[in-house]
Symmetry: C2
Subunit: 191 residues, 2 copies
């Protein structure tokens, strides 16, 4: 049993909350109005769009020291829909990890749409969350939390792999925006 804080109450925050709750873990969902409430979870999910991460870190960066911090963002340039906004040889997760040297940063949930996370399925497949990070214990803790819900979770390697996870997230969003796949479909994983 873990206690998880989710910062952000949008579609993704709510879908992740439902996954975590299904697994019997406790959840604290923090919105913009909760700015004065301290973060109490051992695992903290930054469930806000990438441009909003900056403000969250400015407000709560010190509270995140010692915690497992989960970056779920896809830093897509939503004006052009043709690139990411992070340097080509970096990732949003790497940028966030650089800002939080006292936290164990993981990348996860960015390759699953909110709909497939909440449903637990992508078409005939069980939804699978890809988790990347440099701290094995932190990764194992998050994978256990996700797995307890019935959604699958796979260790996708070091935090450096966040670059490929963000490319996959971007590709999936661009396919959905182009109506090649639906927002309740996308990539599924066959083990």
């Amino acid at each position: 049993m873990a206690h998880i804080s989710i910062i952000g109450t949008g579609n993704m925050g709510q879908a992740i909350s439902s996954v975590v709750t299904k697994g019997g873990n406790s959840v604290e969902l923090l919105g913009k109005a909760d700015i004065d409430k301290p973060v109490t979870g051992d695992i903290v999910v930054l469930a806000v769009p990438y441009p909003a991460v900056d403000q969250v870190l400015a407000q709560r960066g010190e509270q995140l020291a010692g915690k497992i911090v989960v970056d779920i963002t896809n830093p897509v340039n939503f004006e052009t829909f043709d690139s990411l906004t992070v340097p080509a040889d970096s990732s949003a997760a790497a940028e966030i990890a650089g800002r939080l040297p006292g936290s164990r940063v993981l990348k996860a949930f960015n390759t699953t749409f909110a709909g497939t996370l909440a449903a637990g399925t992508v078409g005939p497949l069980t939804t699978t969350v890809l988790v990347a990070g440099d701290d094995a214990d932190a990764k194992a803790a998050l994978i256990e939390v996700i797995g307890a819900s019935g959604v699958k979770a796979i260790d996708a390697g070091a935090l450096k792999r966040a670059r490929e996870l963000e490319a996959l997230g971007f590709l999936q969003i661009s396919l959905a925006a182009g109506e090649k796949v639906s927002w309740t479909g996308g990539f599924g994983i066959v083990a």
Copy 2:
């Protein structure tokens, strides 16, 4: 009906050959011993590992002018398994297109393992090939050839998206190499 040349007789060349043949198209499969045979297909698939592309282009570059050229490579650094060998802001497809200004270059087949291409399925899903390229007619021609076989094909956007397709291919290979998925599984697409 199209006539397709496949340069490379390995697992991928053979799997692509079987897909193309199923769709009622004619195939010419060219191995290393066929260096003196001219390429006769309207669509030419470079089904060789990325390090071998250089030699193929040196030998056959002029023959490829005016043709649709399909790059299927995943330029993974197989020594470290930790990065691609192309610049972070580029792709193998972009490098190849730069070398073949008279050809219409497409990226395809790099996100499907040979096993799922040949089988036509990824677990319960029909295998889907992602195709990227800047020439709409060339893309439509390849998508028709693939679709006729029963395997699905999706237009994944401009050739610039090859970068994300190669990230996906690399991620899938690293998951298989790490025994997180099997070489007959991997990513499937739910429309």
